[in-house]
């Protein structure tokens, strides 16, 4: 009886006292059943506020993230019809996705887009970061400057670059100074995707540059000192000290860029509308087309699930590869 009173009394004072109280209470005479009750009650008091603080997040995550994810998997096996009711169709949606000619085009375009993103965009930030870290003056302004394009709203970016890429626009004028022919950037089948990647690189490379920069600046300076004393040249120092120092970020940003670009579609919608001749129709673009123009939600969900399978396999594979090469 006494012991129960104790725990209630202390419980009211706040969960944190629980630990000390239990020490005192243990020595008081109490039956085994009572002690068990007290433990449960104290546990509840201990965890009560922690759970209360977590509750809104759990609710929001369940409602707006986990439910859609689960629904997506279920929908991928269904024919969604809001008027006549939905019904299960088994793997029919998946079969349609694989049979569709557009999916093939979209997948090829997306892989090409990811590839271009790496060839044109991936190496830029690390190089710029190393260069900026070596600046003696204007380092701060340069940091601001590379981040500036990030501030441009995407809707402004689209028109801006459509103007720059115009057959009679500034970029073609610039090329004509070097005697090059006019390039139909956005209207040419071979150039449209490249044009999109260049404009996206322009906008986004600032973020990654600053991430690299933080890592480059964080490398201990005495390593360079020691290397210099040992006779290593500037390029050797970059090769053997700086680059290994930012390697872990390299791998991480590589994976993040692959995941990001594999889902790119908004610039494609806005700048080329998937054209010319489906040359910029990406997988995600195709997915939204299925959903919002053909209203085939089941097929779109199936495409989403396939995306998840592929990307998860890819990132697990890359992480495993990274882990193995680190151990070796």
């Amino acid at each position: 009886m006494h012991a129960v009173m104790f725990s209630i009394q202390y419980g009211l004072y706040g969960s944190y006292y629980g630990r000390e109280v239990s020490f005192v209470a243990m020595e008081l005479p109490a039956s085994a059943a009572n002690r068990k009750d007290r433990g449960l009650f104290r546990k509840f008091k201990d965890y009560f506020w922690g759970m209360m603080f977590l509750l809104p997040a759990i609710a929001v995550f369940c409602l707006f993230l986990w439910t859609p994810i689960a629904k997506g998997i279920v929908y991928s096996f269904m024919n969604i019809d809001f008027v006549n009711g939905s019904y299960f169709v088994g793997f029919e949606n998946y079969r349609e996705v694989f049979a569709s000619r557009d999916t093939g085009i979209a997948v090829r375009n997306t892989i090409y887009y990811m590839f271009l993103g790496i060839v044109i965009g991936f190496w830029v930030p690390s190089l710029v970061a190393i260069a900026i870290s070596e600046l003696r003056w204007f380092q701060g302004s340069m940091r601001l400057l590379v981040y500036l394009p990030n501030i441009v709203p995407a809707v402004v970016l689209y028109t801006m670059w459509q103007y720059l890429y115009d057959p009679l626009g500034p970029i073609n004028q610039f090329l004509s100074w070097f005697g090059m022919d006019t390039i139909l950037w956005l209207a040419d089948k071979g150039m449209a995707m490249i044009a999109i990647v260049i404009s996206e690189t322009w906008q986004n490379f600032g973020t990654t540059t600053l991430i690299y920069l933080a890592a480059v600046v964080g490398i201990p300076k005495d390593q360079y000192e020691a290397a210099e004393i040992d006779g290593a040249g500037v390029l050797q120092r970059i090769r053997y000290i700086t680059i290994p120092g930012i390697r872990h970020i390299f791998v991480l940003l590589f994976i993040m860029q692959l995941i990001g670009t594999s889902q790119g579609f908004q610039t494609h919608i806005a700048m080329t509308g998937g054209g010319p001749n489906n040359a910029t129709l990406t997988y995600m673009y195709q997915l939204t087309n299925e959903a919002f123009t053909r209203f085939d939600y089941g097929k779109a969900s199936a495409m989403g699930v396939l995306m998840f399978v592929v990307l998860t396999t890819l990132s697990i594979g890359l992480y495993a590869y990274q882990g193995r090469s680190k151990n070796a």
Partner: protein
């Protein structure tokens, strides 16, 4: 010794070698070129917005306008109701900032500083969602909001904004940096958990809150795709979708008129950035450290 500046990759001695100097010079020139290419598109956008219609269509295009035609701006505002869209953006931003911040801060504090059962399980529950591509739940999310009856209401954007594992991770790592002893001392002195949170944790985390504010602002100001899917009444749309439908996608508007509106749209984020640049860079570094 004589140089007060800390060395970086190159030391003072390297600068005496001719090859290094040439390399450094090339690097400086490329950085200067980079700086120009960063600024040039801004320049053309702003200057084109002042050009006359005739000048826009001349080849080769000029960078500076021959004369400043301010009437482009009056012309441009005929095509969009920027005033209404601006207020919509502000309302949307207020919700996008406050509601997720409450959710995320409580969760981050709980995961970091409070007694919790199954802490690992809960952390996994949140962090797993980072691994799932948005492609997987884009369509079901839309259908889900539809079945909840949120379509065409700002709640459809405010509430899901709280389901952001990245921000929870950001807040958790920030609270991890505060010494536990501080909260233990407060608890021993009789402070409740709510008081620990509001009177100790919140005042200390102003910098990380401002990072969240910035994220919310950039998102609200820039997102045109998802917002225009969820909000169906044109009068309720914020700036980005309004501009997208009326300006970016408009085929018959002249470039000078288009750019006059776009210049106006570009200015608030620029001002916002220049004021909060320290916090933005800080937020970036936080996310980098996380990686």
């Amino acid at each position: 010794m004589s140089s007060p500046r800390e060395r970086s990759i190159m030391s003072v001695f390297d600068f005496k070698k001719p090859f290094v100097l040439i390399g450094y010079g090339i690097m400086l020139i490329s950085l200067a070129a980079l700086a120009v290419s960063m600024l040039y598109p801004f320049g053309t956008t702003i200057f084109t917005s002042f050009k006359t219609k005739k000048e826009v269509f001349t080849f080769p295009p000029s960078f500076f306008p021959e004369q400043l035609q301010f009437s482009n701006y009056l012309e441009g505002f005929k095509y969009v109701d920027l005033n209404g869209a601006f207020w919509n953006t502000l309302i949307l931003f207020a919700g996008n900032a406050i509601i997720p911040m409450i959710v995320v801060a409580f969760a981050g504090f709980s995961l970091s500083q409070m007694k919790l059962p199954f802490r690992k399980g809960f952390t996994l529950f949140f962090m797993c969602t980072l691994m799932i591509p948005s492609a997987t739940y884009l369509i079901p999310n839309f259908l889900n909001l539809q079945s909840l009856g949120f379509i065409d209401s700002y709640w459809a954007l405010w509430l899901p904004a709280g389901a952001n594992a990245f921000n929870i991770m950001l807040l958790k790592s920030f609270f991890d940096g505060i010494h536990t002893e501080l909260f233990e001392a407060a608890r021993i002195d009789g402070a409740s958990e709510l008081r620990c949170f509001f009177q100790l944790a919140v005042p200390m985390s102003i910098p990380v809150f401002s990072t969240l504010l910035i994220f919310a602002f950039t998102y609200t100001w820039n997102d045109w795709y998802w917002t225009s899917l969820v909000i169906t009444t044109p009068d309720k749309l914020p700036i980005a979708p309004v501009i997208y439908h009326n300006i970016t996608q408009s085929a018959n508007l002249a470039l000078n008129t288009k750019f006059s509106v776009l210049t106006v749209v570009m200015i608030p984020p620029l001002v916002f950035f220049l004021i909060f640049q320290k916090n933005i860079i800080h937020g970036l570094n936080l996310s980098a450290v996380k990686g």
